[in-house]
Symmetry: C3
Subunit: 160 residues, 3 copies
């Protein structure tokens, strides 16, 4: 079956320098604890009743559906940030919404924007919000830098 | 099993304004009826004997393999369009081809281009065409706008 | 189950001209032998004990997790290249690392870069390398050209 609905999720972030933009991104994934998995990027819903958990080690090389924001820069001194927000509905049978945002700027700015994005998305769905979570990370570029913030979706049977 | 072959597909389109480009994209997904799913972008084949259906509601938060074109713009007054085309072969044991195209311009222009792209792709495969389907949408940007056209792939067991 | 760990992999590359950038990309996929599948792009790990095989025909329209580099150009005369590298660890219970790189430039340059990227990634993981594989392809653009290099992940049960 190609279509499955994840049952758990967790939030992680990371930042890194690297030899190339992709190496910096790889380093950011490693610092987030998800560097040895195969992330499959997806747009950005928390299924109904999907449970938040603390980050767990994922099997090396497994395919992991993930909503993430990432940015790389090779401008020394530049401040880059990534953030994700998760808006959960009051009605537990509705899905929640994930928003991602990366840009030049401080962690505080980028996180504020992504939180407002999630609020806007729930307003558009006319869903009342029970909880608004977010994480964000900033990094000052030395040579080539990357930041990453991610919501990792996971499946019950694989959580110990 | 990680690799599965979809059995059904349907075409949708949408357009929206939004607070940010991602919010506009999210609004376009909602107006297309697929805003509460986790789209996984893929390159762009209709499996042999895959059946077209009318759009069906997808489970909230499910992972949905989708071929799509999308464009966002923050230039007020700009006309943006997205289109997808599906070329189906005469020989039913061959796969069909999906092409996606987004650009500034009118719906008619962009749809004509995507249809020609699908014809070219089938010509390259030396496959005769039984049917050429397409959908397209245009949007005149007010502040931040997005358009989306998509071919959603789906699995038999999940279609009622 | 949404998360699965691939058991086999193979390397392919291709290049093509095309009517549009997407048609050129499609042609590059065809010349690589994976043009009739639905590639799902992922970040870039070889699971522990995943076995390299010769390229096999994949079921038409199947969903195929793939790490790839691709570039398109519409500048006549420009030389574009794509490369992937796979670094495998000495310890068989650790995962390997895939790196992808595309740019203007010759095959030799781009392949050298991607190999160094993979070495850096393994160094960052403090893993000794048993083997470093790579493939690369270059293409001189006539009108609209594309190159592609890919590591295709696959599942044991589907290999004859």
């Amino acid at each position: 079956m190609i279509i499955k609905t994840p049952t758990h999720y967790f939030l992680v972030f990371g930042a890194s320098e690297g030899f190339t933009p992709l190496n910096a991104f790889d380093g950011a994934l490693l610092s987030a604890g998800i560097g040895d998995t195969n992330l499959v990027k997806m747009s950005s819903i928390v299924p109904p009743r999907c449970q938040q958990i603390s980050p767990v080690p994922l099997p090396a090389g497994s395919l992991v559906p993930t909503a993430y924001a990432s940015i790389t820069s090779d401008v020394p001194g530049e401040l880059i940030s990534s953030a994700v927000a998760v808006a959960l509905p009051k009605e537990p049978h509705y899905p929640g919404l994930i928003m991602e945002y990366s840009a030049r700027g401080s962690r505080a700015e980028i996180e504020e924007t992504v939180r407002r994005m999630a609020l806007e998305g729930m307003r558009l769905r006319m869903r009342e919000i029970k909880d608004l979570q977010s994480i964000a990370v900033e990094h000052k570029v030395q040579k080539v830098g990357a930041t990453l913030a991610a919501v990792v979706l996971w499946d019950r049977e694989d959580v110990g």
